[in-house]
């Protein structure tokens, strides 16, 4: 049985403990995972980078956490997320919340479909204890288990 969490965050959507040279590469890695999971085309990855170029690093919404995303468009094939954990944190230019060690990529077909899974993620990341567990979790399955708890 595929759970909702597996549907939106399948194994292909994870890249754990990888290096990125800068914020653009960090977003590109999260976009690559969205493509690999069948959620987006490569055009969406470029759109996510352009969102930061146009609107600034507001996507760094909490210390160490960037939510890379763009608008619903033809480049979004299915709603889903990706999870890129960086071995070396990178600067996005956000003075409150730099440097970033976790990039969550989000592709949404609309404003509604991903709300439930986003609530689960918000619940987990707002808990210091769960946040620490997520930093140390060895596998995609372990991360999903923490998010679902």
């Amino acid at each position: 049985m595929t759970t909702e969490m597996q549907q939106y965050l399948p194994d292909e959507a994870f890249d754990l403990d990888v290096e990125a040279a800068d914020w653009r590469e960090a977003i590109r890695l999260s976009g690559d995972r969205l493509v690999a999971a069948g959620f987006t085309t490569e055009a969406y990855t470029q759109a996510m980078i352009e969102t930061v170029e146009k609107m600034g690093p507001y996507i760094v919404i909490a210390p160490g956490l960037a939510l890379a995303h763009s608008r619903p468009s033809e480049a979004v094939l299915n709603t889903g997320l990706s999870w890129v954990r960086l071995s070396t944190p990178v600067e996005f230019g956000n003075k409150d919340n730099d440097p970033v060690s976790l990039v969550i990529g989000l592709a949404g077909r609309n404003e509604e479909e991903h709300v439930h899974v986003m609530s689960a993620i918000a619940g987990a990341l707002s808990s210091a204890e769960k946040r620490k567990k997520l930093e140390e979790a060895p596998t995609a399955a372990a991360i999903r288990t923490i998010l679902e708890a």
């Binding site: 507001y58 919404i61 995303h69 763009s70 956000n94 989000l106 404003e111 991903h114």
Partner: protein, 89 residues
């Protein structure tokens, strides 16, 4: 209280913020109705709201909106969100 969470595209960070605002409000036993908007439509939508929440980077784009605009620096910090809600009451 009607609260509008604003982000660049209206589907990402504002949705996460809405989830945490609803969680804090329920802990405080506050009656809130939370919606989301992108920065383009937010000034129009804000008129009917009691409070607008957004990030430090986007707040300057909401200058001139008559509804109180409050910045949340850490969208995952429930204590910060609680402080903002209590100040707004």
């Amino acid at each position: 209280m009607d609260i509008l969470c604003v982000c660049g595209n209206g589907i990402g960070t504002s949705v996460l913020l809405k989830a945490n605002v609803e969680q804090v409000a329920s802990q405080l036993d506050m009656d809130v109705n939370v919606s989301t908007a992108d920065i383009g439509t937010a000034p129009g939508t804000a008129v009917t709201q009691d409070l607008v929440l957004t990030s430090a980077q986007l707040a300057p784009e909401l200058e001139g909106v008559s509804t109180p605009v409050r910045v949340v620096h850490n969208f995952m910090d429930l204590n910060e969100i609680q402080q903002v809600l209590e100040d707004a009451e």
